[in-house]
């Protein structure tokens, strides 16, 4: 969890540096939603400590790690209630094992939802097994309310299949 917080912090810094988000057809909406993708770069320093940082995607190859992020901002003067962000996973990626275990996911195309540990899938020969990160088809976040002017970021880590 600490790692995730670090990643979030790093992303916020990047987001600030990037300046205002583009506004187009979405300006009619009180809440603005903006997606981005970063690559996870792992480097080892002289004393052998591994550090990871999020960088703009360069080389994209099978096995590479990505972080998909969604920034939201409530631009209106009223609160947005029951704010739900649904993100289908691109089929070329799987949810990374370091994803928050409390993340709400679906493994059946968005039909049913729960934490990964609570879900199962049925194999072709009819046997049910526990769902794995590779089975995840969607991730979802729910915020009870976003106050006017409030912004934040949601993200999930993925590995290119």
């Amino acid at each position: 969890m600490n790692n995730l917080k670090k990643i979030v912090a790093a992303l916020l810094a990047i987001g600030c540096a990037a300046g205002p988000l583009a506004v187009n057809a979405q300006e009619l909406n009180a809440v603005e939603v903006s997606g981005d993708v970063k690559a996870v770069q792992t480097s080892v320093d002289e004393s052998g400590n591994e550090t990871t940082q999020l960088v703009d995607p360069g080389v994209i190859i099978p096995g590479g790690r990505l972080v998909f992020g969604t920034d939201y901002t409530n631009n209106s003067d009223e609160s947005a209630e029951n704010f739900v962000v649904t993100n289908p996973l691109p089929s070329a990626v799987r949810l990374a094992p370091n994803a928050d275990p409390d993340l709400i996911v679906s493994v059946d195309g968005g039909e049913t939802w729960g934490t990964l540990a609570a879900l199962s899938v049925t194999t072709e020969d009819g046997i049910a097994r526990s769902a794995t990160h590779g089975d995840v088809t969607h991730v979802r976040w729910t915020l009870a309310s976003i106050a006017p002017g409030e912004s934040g970021r949601l993200e999930y880590p993925a590995i290119i299949r």
Binding site: V33, V59, P90
Partner: protein, 326 residues
């Protein structure tokens, strides 16, 4: 900002989002050029009721991994003697995009008893796994394969000449190497813009090259035939007189570490004698004169022959037959 809220999942209803992407399922990973597109959809309620908003779609393109393996398809050393020998290999594109490979052969491997001379590299054009001269395409310099799709394997033949003067039991290795035409290097080396659809090509774990060893073992075989005769005359002696029966014995000795195919021991009936019907034996067992029912056939006109078939080195067979002296 409350970062705790960002990672705090809550249960709520949601909306279905639309997302489509077509990715071929490959064991080695998604294909080079595949677009990974991600869009999030948000729903919420404000003073005006339920609202839905899509994020922008972010797109990244999968780059091309350059990986290749080479394996020998020969089950073991190829038996060889001076002249042509063919070794069989398989080149497999382990990357995730189409790639051609330049092939090279090194016949001078440390430890060789002798070195072969490389004649040609050919590809298994008709896909039957066997080198067919005149059918299978012979590669010309630079000896590059056609473009192999991701996971595609190609059978490659290396035709070599075994020099004269080799001795039975000598061995020689040759090495076939395949290198990605785009380039090779330490894993992670990037060839910018040289991948599928203008993406990058990246050297994978194999270094974008691979090689395998094929082996030859000289199996020179020799066949020695030794013929002897013993005579029994009608009087119990060993004189060659009319009515004496002469028994010819032919000992076929196959030497060396290889084997010979279609070894047939044949002999004519000497003038002045008549073949004694049904007298052929092979290693002490009787054979018939008729053809086709066993290894032997015999007649006064055509003589005798015994088909020993394929005989391994180190084997001895004894054939006998009788004649009557006129």
């Amino acid at each position: 900002m409350d970062t705790h809220k960002l990672i705090k999942p809550l249960f709520a209803s949601s909306v279905a989002a639309i997302f489509t992407i077509s990715v071929p399922a490959l064991a080695e990973g998604v294909s080079a050029g595949t677009l990974i597109e991600n869009t999030a959809t948000a729903t919420y309620e404000d003073g005006e009721g339920p609202q839905t908003v899509d994020s922008n779609t972010v797109v990244v393109r999968v780059d091309e991994l350059l990986d290749v393996t080479v394996t020998s398809l020969d089950g073991g050393p190829i038996g060889a003697d001076p002249g042509e020998a063919v070794l069989t290999f398989e080149v497999t594109n382990q990357g995730n995009g189409p790639e051609a490979y330049e092939l090279s052969v090194n016949p001078a491997i440390a430890g060789n008893d002798f070195d072969t001379i490389v004649v040609n590299i050919a590809v298994d054009t008709n896909g039957n796994g066997t080198y067919d001269p005149g059918v299978d395409e012979i590669l010309t310099a630079p000896e590059a394969t056609q473009v192999l799709e991701a996971d595609e394997a190609l059978t490659v033949f290396v035709i070599v000449t075994v020099p004269d003067g080799v001795v039975d039991g000598q061995a020689s290795d040759i090495e076939l190497t395949a290198e990605a035409v785009t380039g090779i290097g330490v894993p992670g080396t990037v060839f910018a813009g040289q991948g599928v659809d203008g993406g990058d090509a990246i050297v994978g774990p194999t270094g974008a090259d691979g090689s395998a060893i094929g082996s030859l073992l000289v199996g020179i075989t020799s066949v020695d035939l030794t013929k002897s005769v013993s005579v029994v005359d009608p009087f119990g002696g060993t004189s060659a007189v009319p009515g004496s029966i002469a028994t010819f014995t032919i000992i076929a000795t196959v030497g060396g570490s290889g084997s010979v195919d279609d070894l047939i021991v044949a002999d004519a009936i000497p003038e002045g004698t008549a073949y004694a019907d049904e007298s052929i034996t092979l290693d002490g067992a009787d054979l018939t004169d008729a053809s086709g029912d066993d290894a032997g056939e015999g007649s006064d006109a055509t003589g005798i022959s015994v088909d020993l078939g394929t005989v391994a080195g180190g084997t001895v067979h004894t054939v006998t037959f009788d004649v009557t002296i006129d």
